[in-house]
């Protein structure tokens, strides 16, 4: 009996650690608790194939599921604990089919989520090419900026917007902020 309990405990542990935390939509009037050290995360999807979820590995293992899509737009606005994550998997069609990603697998899939900021990760782009897929995150900051200004004006007033993709620095958002300050 003890043996059975031990095995069950191991299985339970595996299930708990193997599952990614599901995230929730973040509304325009929602606020962050500064002590939680969470960041607002913005990602958009451009795909000719149904995306079930994106799996992030970092301070926590999180899944951004298709249920989080804004019904009118192709954006997800949610929150995640701050830290550096790697996008390790894109699940397509359903939870069982996936494309392996990750920074060890070619391309830089790291994102740096800063606390108490709006972190635009990019436009997750998945294109079917022949029997395979071309997968990338595109930097379409202008579209994200316009979307947020129109749909999350309150949020934009309360938190600074930053480009969260790891790699070459992008000063566009701070440049826009400077221009707006000059007006």
């Amino acid at each position: 009996m003890k043996r059975i309990i031990a095995i069950s405990a191991i299985l339970l542990t595996l299930l708990v650690t193997g599952c990614a935390t599901k995230l929730e939509q973040f509304k325009d009037n929602s606020t962050l608790n500064p002590d939680d050290r969470k960041g607002v995360v913005v990602i958009a999807y451009e795909s000719d194939t149904a995306i079930h979820s994106l799996i992030f590995s970092g301070p926590a293992k999180v899944a951004i599921e298709h249920t989080l899509y804004d019904q009118k737009h192709n954006y997800v606005v949610t929150t995640m604990p701050a830290g550096t994550y790697d996008i390790i998997r894109a699940k397509i069609y359903n939870r069982y089919n996936y494309i392996e990603l990750g920074s060890d697998d070619g391309g830089n899939w790291k994102v740096n989520i800063e606390p108490n900021k709006i972190n635009y990760i990019g436009h997750f782009n998945l294109d079917r090419i022949g029997a395979g897929f071309k997968v990338q995150t595109k930097n379409e900051s202008t579209l994200a900026l316009s979307f947020l200004k129109e749909n999350y004006p309150s949020l934009m007033n309360r938190y600074p917007l930053v480009y969260a993709k790891d790699g070459t620095r992008d000063d566009f958002f701070s440049y826009i902020k400077t221009l707006e300050g000059e007006e």
Partner: protein
């Protein structure tokens, strides 16, 4: 399977009436060539031509004694269907390699049976990805065929017997069995991608191989009965590189088992034709070089063992220079008879008596001729773009200036026919490294000239054709030396009496788009407007536009042209017009392609966003939904260039008026653009723009516009 051909009349008419310059319709110039190649059979008796007519890619054949051609192959212009290659195998057998439905590749073998002036054909298809490398013209029904071996990721070079392939029931499996029975000349060789075959005995004498970290060339050594590698290019950027991105080494042919002929600029500035010792792995002689220009290609006669011709671009004109006196005399004679700047022998019969000639220059997209050497008779076959025949086009004038590096910078000034002063459009090319503008027929240039604008193109530092040092001088010169060269020649153009220096605009694509916007900041006195298509405006964004650009190989490739992003971030940002947008004071027209993976549309969106926010000047922005780094459909070009002319007319061509005779052309152009907005296929559907252009079309007399305006619910036109 045999079928009788219906004879079609090939319009072989030599027009001789010179027509006064008149407006060309945008859809007549922005379209595919209707005829784009001819090949002649080894006997010199029969031609095969390729055409694009009525939405079909076709091959047609005709005998040298007749004016009547018969269609022998046809593919609809839809999806990815395309003719990849075609030629003769012997005097009564031809082949065509094509991509058919469901992305499957086929080679069709076509047998001809000749009857006086007509012929029948019989054909069969083989499903395989492969290409005829050598038609083995002296052997009936035989050819050397490079067939993809997908299991081993290489090409096999097979000596195929067409009769054997024909003899089995046509299934992929049956054909594969027959392929397996053929002699494989590349048996045992891995990763083969390039084959060099001797025309003497059809033996494989050189190969190119593609490996993950390097490419190699090897030669067959008869003495040791083995392949000897003589050239290797390391591709892995983390290891020592033996090869710069500007280096060229391209084997042309083997002289014997020790020496080869190659095009190379290794250890020299200008690309030359060299003799290379494959044993010592070094250049031993220069067979042909120019002091001023790179050699672009060379032909080496493996039977006579001699270099027969070279090609290079001399002051913007591509030339084939023959190295033997009889061919030089022939070429001189052809020049006199044809009268165009560039004349090429593109095919010949086995005895070299019958030649296919292609001639073109900046005033003409191209003409095909048949020349019989024995009779000394030149026969016109077809214009590449027959619909353009009624129009006259303009030749560029060479402009040169010396820059601060002591380089001679070449440019070409195209002036409209009318004698008055013309507003100027400066058109820097893309790249900026390794691209060359020529004094040749260019649809965009000639369209703008046809609409009354002088056009200046410039081979600024970094351009190809002038040696490695000149190309290298353009690296990391975004917003610096390149724009200085452009300014240098702009001033030269301004000094021309036919150029109105007070009315100039700068327009470019890709790097040219960057340069257009940047030049208005650095040289604000030069330009009244800027136009950019598929441009880049935020240099760090070149690296951050996609996570795929963060791999070392991509970063390395971009840095080679732009500069090191890690070391020079601030410099790159400082040379980005986006971050200096407050200094952009001229009206700016921006085009981008939503599928552009080179200059991501984010560049253009950012510029549009910032210029709109600043509100200092007029900004007009257009996104093409189906275009990448350029248009895949001519409708995109039609929209782009009609929009450009409209923009230019407003800003630098204010006093321009079009005679009444040309109103039908304006009606046609406006109708085309109106329908692009109406249908919303290439740009986002926009009924207001559709209404505006359709009303203009109607005003100029296009009755078709009325019905679409009514469909939009508009009756007051």
């Amino acid at each position: 399977m045999t079928f009788k051909n219906t004879l079609l009349t090939l319009a072989i008419i030599v027009f001789s009436i010179s027509v006064q310059a008149k407006l060309v319709k945008s859809n007549e110039i922005f379209t595919n060539p209707q005829f784009n190649n001819f090949v002649i059979s080894p006997s010199g008796q029969t031609f095969i031509g390729k055409s694009y007519l009525d939405g079909f890619h076709q091959l047609f054949a005709f005998q040298s004694t007749t004016n009547e051609a018969a269609e022998i192959f046809k593919l609809q212009n839809s999806g990815s269907l395309e003719i990849i290659d075609y030629n003769w195998i012997d005097s009564d057998t031809a082949y065509v390699t094509f991509k058919g439905n469901f992305n499957k590749y086929y080679t069709r073998f076509i047998d001809f049976t000749f009857k006086e002036d007509t012929f029948d054909i019989d054909y069969f298809d083989v499903e395989a990805i492969g290409f005829v490398i050598n038609p083995m013209s002296t052997k009936d029904n035989r050819a050397l065929y490079a067939k993809l071996n997908s299991d081993d990721e290489k090409f096999d070079l097979l000596e195929i017997d067409i009769e054997k392939l024909k003899s089995v029931k046509a299934t992929k499996k049956n054909h594969q069995k027959v392929f397996d029975s053929f002699r494989n000349l590349s048996d045992g060789l891995d990763n083969t991608f390039e084959f060099f075959v001797s025309n003497k005995d059809y033996q494989l004498e050189m190969i190119g191989q593609y490996f993950e970290d390097y490419n190699t060339y090897s030669i067959y050594d008869l003495n040791t009965d083995s392949w000897r590698e003589f050239f290797r290019v390391n591709k892995n950027t983390n290891e020592d590189k033996n090869y710069s991105r500007l280096d060229i080494f391209e084997p042309v042919g083997a002289i014997d088992e020790r020496f080869i002929v190659a095009l190379s600029n290794m250890g020299r500035d200008k690309t030359a034709v060299i003799k290379f010792d494959a044993s010592l792995k070094k250049e031993v002689d220069v067979l042909y070089e120019s002091n001023s220009y790179d050699i672009k290609s060379a032909t080496f006669d493996t039977i006579q063992n001699k270099l027969t011709s070279v090609t290079y671009v001399d002051r913007g004109v591509k030339k084939q220079k023959f190295l033997d006196k009889p061919n030089q005399a022939l070429q001189k004679d052809l020049h006199q008879q044809i009268g165009l700047d560039s004349i090429f022998i593109i095919d010949s019969s086995l005895n070299n008596n019958d030649l296919v000639i292609f001639a073109y220059d900046s005033t003409h997209p191209g003409k095909f001729y048949h020349y019989n050497q024995e009779l000394g008779k030149l026969r016109f076959l077809q214009n590449e773009m027959p619909d353009l025949h009624p129009y006259t086009f303009r030749k560029g004038r060479l402009l040169t200036a010396k820059n601060e590096l002591d380089n001679i910078v070449e440019g070409f000034l195209f002036l409209p026919e009318a004698p008055n002063k013309h507003p100027l459009v400066v058109m820097p090319h893309g790249g900026p490294i390794g691209v060359q503008d020529r004094n040749e027929f260019d649809q965009a240039t000639q369209f703008l000239v046809n609409r009354g604008y002088a056009v200046l193109t410039i081979n600024f530092r970094g351009s190809a054709g002038y040696g490695k040092e000149y190309m290298n001088a353009g690296r990391e010169q975004f917003g610096e030396g390149i724009e200085a060269d452009i300014n240098l020649l702009t001033q030269k153009a301004f000094a021309h009496p036919s150029v109105d220096k007070n009315n100039a605009c700068i327009y470019g694509t890709s790097y040219g788009g960057y340069s257009a916007v940047t030049s208005t900041i650095i040289y604000p006195q030069n330009f009244k407007c800027a136009i950019t298509a598929f441009g880049v405006f935020d240099l760090p964004l070149l690296f951050s536009a996609t996570n795929l650009n963060q791999t070392e190989s991509r970063k390395d490739a971009i840095s080679f042209i732009v500069g090191d992003i890690d070391a020079d971030y601030n410099k790159l940002k400082a040379n980005s017009p986006l971050y200096k947008a407050s200094q952009i004071k001229v009206p700016t027209l921006i085009f981008s392609g939503l599928r552009d993976e080179i200059a991501h549309p984010e560049h253009s969106r950012r510029l549009n966003y910032v210029l709109t926010e600043l509100g200092n000047t007029e900004v007009q922005y257009h996104e093409y939904t189906l275009s990448g780094h350029g248009h895949r459909n001519w409708r995109g070009d039609i929209h782009q260039y009609v929009t450009i002319v409209e923009f230019l007319d407003r800003h630098i061509g204010k006093n321009k008026s079009y005679p009444k005779d040309d109103h039908n052309v304006l009606a046609n152009d406006n109708f085309n653009v109106g329908m692009i907005y109406y249908n919303g296929t290439f740009v986002e559907k926009d009924t207001k723009q559709a209404e505006r252009y359709l009303k203009l079309a109607h005003k100029y007399g296009d009755d078709r516009a009325a019905q679409y305006l009514r469909r939009l619910g508009i009756y007051n036109f």
